[in-house]
Structures are given as C-alpha cells and as structure tokens.
C-alpha cells in the first residue's frame, strides 16, 4: 500500500507540474487579453516536435534551450500579426482565431513529421535509474522533469512578484488602460506575455516529449484537461492554476490506483438503483473525474477555487 501511495504521489505531482507549465501561460494570457487560447496545447506539441528535430541534429540539450525559444518566438509572432489585428473585432474573433490556429498547427505538424509518433528518446545522459524504492525503480528523466517544472515555477513566481516587469504585468492584468497612461507599451507587454506563455508550453513539450509520446494527437489529448485546470483554479489566477494542476494530477493518478467499486465505497447505503453502475471501480471512472470536478466547480463556485472573476 505504502508503495502505491509513494509512487502515485510522485507520478501525480509530476503530471500536475507538467499541467501547470501549460496552465500558467494559458491563465496569464487569459487574464491579460480575456482570450482563452485554444491553440495553447498546440504550442506544447510544437515544443515537443521542435525539441525532437533539434535534438536530432544538435543533441537533446540544445533542443531543451532552443526549442522553447523558437516556440516563444512563434507565439509572439502569432500575437503581433494575428491576435492584435483581431483585437478590435472583439473576443469572438480572437477565440475563433485560436481555435482555427490549433487545427492549422496540427495539420502543419502532420505534414512535416507525419501522423506517426516520432522517435523522441530520453537523452543517454539522463537514461539511468534515479533511485530504487520497494524494488521499483524511478527513472532519472522523470526526476529531471520534476526539477525543471519546479525551477520554472520558482522563476515565474520571482519574476511576477519581485521584478519590475512582473509588477507591470500584474498591473496590466487588471488595469491595462492605467498602465498605458503611465507610459508603458501595453500591446508589447501583451506580446511578451503571450510569447513567454507559449515558450513555457514549448518547454513543457520538450521535456514531456520523450517521456510521453510525441505525436500529432498530443495537443488534443492534453487540451481539454488544461481548460479544466484553469477553470477549477479560477480563470486568471496563477496560484489557482498551481493548486488545480496538482489536485488534478494527484486525483487522476490516485483514482487509477483505487480498486474499490462504488458499492464498496457506499456500502449498504447504496440504493438498489442503476444495477451494474455500482460495480464500476474508481479506477475505471478515473478519466472522467477531472470533468466531473469542472462541472461541480462551475455550479458551486463559478469563480474557481481561488479566482476572483466569474467564468
């Protein structure tokens, strides 16, 4: 039992942190521009593919540095020449734009790298066993992923709360007009934030690519969960996104580990309705739980766990 708890916690935190790397950018962009970026998970995929392509020629570590920068650059360009032009037409056009962009990116990726998963492997320098516990090994690469995610979180926190640019960003979240009056270039700020958010997603892609699977459907697999994270955490709240990422990461991993069925869970109080439904185990409904959480949160706490504004 202890074994399952330990490894589920590790796996859950890792998955949660990965989600957070994506959700942080998404939630920041949302709070600034009021736009839910449907293409955000596509930047994650782009990161993985660029990381793969660069690692083929220059090695993993070059990919680790260059790919997120490239994705950030692409993100900035998308903001500058796409979203900014559409801004005056209102949120619906922006939303549709990002929606379309997600499809475009997926198709482009398929055109360049094909529909099959690419062979993006863990670098040899990280391909060893980090530690052994209860006779189960834990790969070093996963520890590296965890470390990267935690470092990124710390850096993000420091930048946003302790630096000048962070303060301006925070101010622009709520009072963009006032920030502009004070002489700051708000559109450029938007571009920087969008670019940085994309770069973070790209970084998540680079490190997740070898551990999960680098394939054209990876964006579509992660996208919906991402929206759950930022809604549950509260749209626009970074802390909320962090908490929600970890909750969802842990809930999903632990749900898989639980073998009890609903009838065992509720025992004799289970009404004799719905027949077989009570025999379903928690593990089987694990994939639905995040969405259940989404619906529940929207009903009972529309602002999300920590967020301030109504969704």
């Amino acid at each position: 039992m202890l074994q399952i708890v330990v490894f589920s916690t590790l796996n859950g935190v890792l998955y949660g942190m990965l989600l957070f790397m994506l959700a942080s950018g998404l939630t920041l962009v949302f709070s600034m521009m009021g736009v839910l970026n449907f293409a955000h998970a596509s930047f994650y995929m782009l990161g993985a593919y660029l990381g793969f392509e660069i690692s083929r020629h220059l090695g993993f570590w070059s990919g680790f540095i260059i790919a997120p920068l490239c994705v950030g650059g692409i993100g900035a360009l998308v903001e500058r020449f796409g979203l900014r032009q559409l801004h005056r037409l209102g949120h619906v056009s922006e939303l549709l734009f990002t929606f379309g962009l997600a499809f475009v990116i997926e198709e482009v990726v398929q055109m360049i790298w094909g529909k099959l998963p690419v062979d993006y492997n863990v670098p040899p320098s990280l391909d060893f066993v980090a530690f052994r516990l209860f006779d189960t090994t834990y790969p070093a690469y996963r520890m590296f992923m965890l470390l990267t995610a935690v470092t990124m979180f710390a850096v993000l926190l420091i930048v946003l709360t302790r630096t000048r640019i962070g303060l301006i960003i925070q101010a622009a979240l709520t009072h963009p007009d006032m920030v502009a009056m004070l002489g700051h270039n708000v559109p450029r700020l938007f571009m920087v934030v969008f670019g940085a958010g994309s770069a973070l997603a790209g970084l998540a892609g680079v490190i997740a690519g070898p551990a999960l699977v680098t394939q054209p459907s990876m964006a579509a697999l992660l996208g919906p969960i991402l929206f759950v994270v930022i809604v549950v955490g509260g749209l626009g709240s970074l802390t909320g996104a962090f908490v929600a990422s970890l909750i969802i990461g842990l809930v999903q991993t632990f749900a898989v580990a639980l073998n009890i069925s609903f009838s065992e869970l509720f025992g004799p109080i289970a009404p004799p309705l719905f027949g077989d439904l009570w025999q379903v185990t928690i593990a089987q409904v694990a994939p639905v739980i995040p969405y259940l959480l989404l619906v529940t949160v929207l009903i009972f706490r529309p602002t999300g766990l920590i967020g301030k504004r109504e969704t």
Partner: protein, 410 residues
Amino acid sequence: MNFRIVGIALGVSFFVFPAFADDTTKIGYIDPLSGGGASIGEVGLKTFQYLADELNANGGLNGKKVEIVGLDNKTNPQESLIQAQKAADQGIRIITQGNGSSVAAALSDWVTKYNDRNPGKEMIYFNYAAVDPVLTNDKCSYWHFRWDANSDIKMAALTNFMKDRPNIKKIYLINQDYSFGQAVRTQARAMLKAKRPDIEIVGDEVHPLLKITDFSPYIAKIKASGADSVITGNWGQDIALLLKAAGDAGLQTDWYTYYAGGAGGPTAIKQTALSHRVFQISEGVPNSATEAAQIWEAAFRAKEGVSLFYPRAVNEMRMLAKAASQAKSDDPKAIAPQLEGMTIEAFDGGEATMRKDDHQFFQDMYISSFGPLDPGAKFDEEGTGWGWKLVGAVKANDTILPTTCKMERP
C-alpha cells in the same frame, strides 16, 4: 468545424471528377491514420498497398487493377460509418478494416443494412484484425469475413501454453475498456479457472482505449499486486506505452500478449531487457516461417521498411484474388459465396479454411517469445537486434471453437 465542412466539400468535388474507371477495383481501407491507433493503421495501409502492387504485377483481379484507398476513421465507430458511406459514394464495394472491434461491429452492421437497401450495389467487408468473438457469433453477418483468429481462439491457445508453465502463480489482467478488452478479460478468467485453478488473479484492470500516454500509475499497481505474469490484449500505442512504462519502473514480470509485436512494442521490450519473457500469439513467426514466406517477408521489409505484422492480410488478399478468379467477377455478390468454405495454404504454411457457418478463418496459430536472435535467425524487429522465437504452435484443427451464428443469407 467549418474547416472540416469545407474540407469534405473540396474532397467530394475531387472525387466526383474522375469517372469510375472500369479497369480498377478499389478497396476501401478504413482504419486509423491519425490519433492513437495511427502507428499500426499506417503499417496496415503499407501492407495492403504492397499486396495490391503484388496482385497488380500478376494481372490484378481478372485483369482489373487493384487500388487501395486509405480512409481515416480515427478509431472511431461514427467516423468509420462516414468513411464507409464515402467509400460507397465513390463506388468502392470492398472495404477492409481491422483496428477496433467497436468499429468492426458498427461497420458490419452498416454494410448489412446498406446491402439490404441497395440491391445490386452490395458491399463486402473484410475484417483482418478485429477479434471480438461476437462478430462471428451473435452478430455475424453474411457480408463480413474475418481472417484473424478471434479473441477466444487466441486466449484458448495462450492459456493452453500457460497451463504447462508452473512458474505462473499470480496473474494480472490489464485491457482496454471496450468490447474486445472485455472479451479478453472474461475469457482469461474463465479459461484459467478451468485449466489452472491454482493461479490467483491479483488484478483485473480496464483502462480507456488509446487515451493513456503514461502508464506509470498502472504499472505501480501491477508492481504492488505482486503479480508474476500479466495478460493483456492491448494493441497500438496502448501496448507500446504499457511496456515502456514497465521498463521505466523495472517491472519484472512475464507478459502474455496478443499484440506486443505492434509498432513500438519491440523497442519497448528491448529497453525493458525482458529477454524471452514477452509472449505473443499470432498466425505467423517470421524466423520459423516457410522459406517462401521468409523470402516474401524479406522483400516486404526491404521495400516498406516495416515487418509484416499482418500475415492475415496476405491470406485475405490471396483469397480475394482466388475468389474473384473463380467467380470471374469482382462483384461482392459473386465473391462472397466463393469465399465461404474456401481452403488455401496459409501464408505461414498449413491448410487454412474460411468456415462457412460464421465466416471465421481457421489457421495454424503460433506462440513466440521476444529476445536476442538465435544463430541463423534472420529477422529482428525495429532494428533492436532482437526477434521473435517460436515456442509453441497450435494446428488449425485444434483452434476450432463452436459458433452460435445463425447466418442470414440473401
């Protein structure tokens, strides 16, 4: 979604243009070419295209060229029906599909209804890999033919093999949560109970089909259960990623699988260093195949860059050619009666028959294990230097199971 509509409109306008050339027979290949099943869908498409080329080089179907039309169904039953309709609209009358019994059930049902409503335009459905037993039992159709051994046949052979392995004490079942995965786990439980009542089943898991990218939580559970062997019917990325996660966690168990040889599987096994501890049931093992099959396999690998994962596809196309030449027609209505009860020499040797009662193909089945190549063995997989080694065989006659099919013939 507008994009998709425009796409379909464009696609349709393209197809309307070329008049249906009378000198080609088109076969609609409805399988995943994107999404989680794409890795094996793509291999299947290559295989069928290679087989079509081979057929064309030998004169085609009664002089008509065979063309494979790839139709992406994203492993989704609804999408498959749209693609089947698209195929019908293009004048395609032979369709083939393999990945996903949920898809197969939908297609079989659709084809049957379509044929009722469109006499004179009948379509025929060749199933090369969907193995849910129900397709040749309660839900059998006259227009459906299956070349793969169904799940019950495979499980019977696997459990017969496991019966004589005393080191198996605790078994974990992990399968995909849909009709086929359910069939595997029910049969595994029933057959193990009958053949090895002493074996304890320490886990019985189903997980979402082709959605999981990280199996670590499941592996942690298997590990904690203390299982020494795992039975799984997983295919596509679900088997490759499962084995990969097992390797990462250093899980040391034996694996009894249906499809460990699929794309990505061999690489993962090699990484896990589980030498000759992963078993697979299939209708052919290249390293112990007949000489003709080995020559064929070598040529196939040289041209397509993948191994022949579907020897049954070869049987399917050869029988189609034979049926068409006997019927002197490529009309499904003429082909179907020819296929019923047809006996051929299977690709991997041995006599094999398409049973008339339920359209299930019966062929020799082989169990093989994966590990470093023996001296003299020619074929490794995915460049790993490891290959499949024959460890057990079941004659076609010994695989025959009764059917509950009450075939409705037109």
